[in-house]
């Protein structure tokens, strides 16, 4: 669970191309953490007793030391057409329609810019660790251009991500991972499970059909999926068995 963080890069706020009815994302969390998991269109995110909010141009930092009374600590001009924000460890990633801006929040009240990566498109990303990130891009959307694919980036130098592998898919959305498995929502084509023992070469192990999958949060052996019409809960078992526990669709 600790390794987990995924986010939705959603282009807009209501059911749009890129976030077709939105989705989810799990924030990194630990048993002792008092903040839960979440994400999606992410106009805001919480980390280290602070809340970070973006509008189309700026980043606003609020202190949550008094959690019932957020206090504005400052604002920073970031760029144009900002669409999403998420955190991984002590960094903020702010996605715009043309670039990814990276800020350090080692001092949480005062984010400082580390750099930016241009020409990186992502509808949904999941950062696996300090050197690998998986992102999905979806054709016909601002976040995808013309491609439908799962892409593997080397992010050792975070402002210079290197594309290492492109795995074509039909309609990829949100994704999540646990251990050496990567779960990628494939819209109306179901959910794909990849073996990522070799992180740069995801190997398709299984496809789950029957529902339209938009996003997943994985907590230990529980997978919560945002599906068309609601939510489905699954238990992840040995040998890639995925057992439906319940659906909440009305």
């Amino acid at each position: 669970m600790k390794k987990l963080l995924f986010i939705i890069f959603s282009a807009s706020l209501f059911i749009t191309s890129c976030d077709k009815d939105s989705s989810t994302s799990a924030d990194k969390t630990t048993a002792s953490s008092n903040t839960g998991q979440g994400g999606s269109l992410a106009r805001f995110t919480t980390a280290a007793d602070h809340m970070y909010i973006v509008d189309d141009r700026k980043l606003y930092t609020y202190s949550l030391l008094d959690e019932k009374r957020p206090q504005l600590k400052g604002s920073i001009d970031v760029g144009f057409s900002i669409e999403t924000i998420y955190t991984y460890k002590d960094k903020l990633f702010i996605g715009s329609s043309s670039a990814m801006y990276i800020y350090s929040i080692s001092n949480p009240a005062q984010p400082t810019k580390l750099g930016q990566a241009t020409h990186v498109r992502a509808c949904d990303p999941v950062i696996a660790n300090d050197s690998i990130a998986y992102v999905t891009v979806r054709g016909g959307t601002r976040c995808g251009g013309t491609q439908n694919a799962l892409m593997v980036y080397d992010v050792k130098y975070i402002t210079q991500p290197l594309l290492r592998k492109t795995v074509n898919m039909e309609s990829p959305y949100g994704l999540g991972m646990t251990g050496n498995r990567l779960y990628v929502c494939n819209g109306s084509n179901g959910l794909n499970v990849y073996d990522i023992t070799d992180p740069i070469n995801p190997v398709l192990k299984k496809q789950l059909a029957g529902d339209t999958f938009y996003d997943v949060i994985i907590i230990d052996d529980l997978m919560v999926a945002m599906i068309e019409g609601g939510t489905a809960l699954y238990e992840l078992k040995a040998n890639d068995e995925i057992s439906l526990a319940a659906k909440i669709v009305n």
Binding site: I15, D21, S22, S23, L41, A42
Partner: protein
């Protein structure tokens, strides 16, 4: 005399040079015919008198489920533009909806201890969820977001023009439009 003749020259020249600009500005690309049917955007209206009222309600059906968020044994799912479903998933095989928090315009959320943060249209609202069946507004910070533009949709393309007599625009949805007159 000289002065007069100068201005007599200048004024018409000025007029002509200004007028010269007009045709240029008016040259527009040939308007495309309005399509009979096309995918585009339509406003979501609310007629509620007070869109800022936030309250707990009994569990509701999930109609347009949005973002999900998990905190402990509780799953929160946004009902796009309407509020937040609160669902206990301690027993995954038997999830229990326990409440619905009505928040107009809601699109996303975060939870910290017993505090829930979400957006009420363009305001950041801070809710005390110690009791989900009677949440309390702890704080509101106005116009933090630009989530909802009441005049135009969040994407490009055709959209159904806003008709204020139908209420306040609280969001936009994608829809098959017939002869849409507005375009973003």
């Amino acid at each position: 005399m000289k002065r007069t003749s100068l201005s007599a020259w200048l004024l018409p020249m000025l007029a002509i040079s200004l007028a010269a600009c007009y045709p240029r500005e008016r040259v527009e690309p040939q308007p495309e015919p309005i399509p009979a049917e096309i995918d585009g955007w339509a406003p979501v209206y609310s007629k509620d008198a007070d869109l800022t009222v936030i309250k707990s309600m009994p569990p509701q059906n999930i109609v347009k489920g949005g973002k999900i968020y998990i905190k402990g044994d509780t799953l929160y799912q946004v009902e796009s533009g309407k509020g937040i479903h609160v669902i206990l998933i301690k027993q995954p095989a038997n999830p229990q909806k326990v409440a619905f928090i009505s928040v107009t315009g809601a699109q996303e959320l975060a939870v910290k201890n017993a505090t829930l943060y979400t957006n009420n249209l363009n305001d950041l609202v801070v809710l005390d969820i110690t009791r989900v069946d009677s949440v309390k507004l702890a704080d509101r910070i106005s116009n933090v977001f630009k989530m909802v533009d009441a005049t135009r949709p969040p994407g490009t393309g055709y959209y159904e023009c806003v008709d204020k007599s139908k209420g306040t625009v609280v969001g936009w949805e994608q829809k098959l439009l017939k002869y849409p007159k507005c375009r973003n």
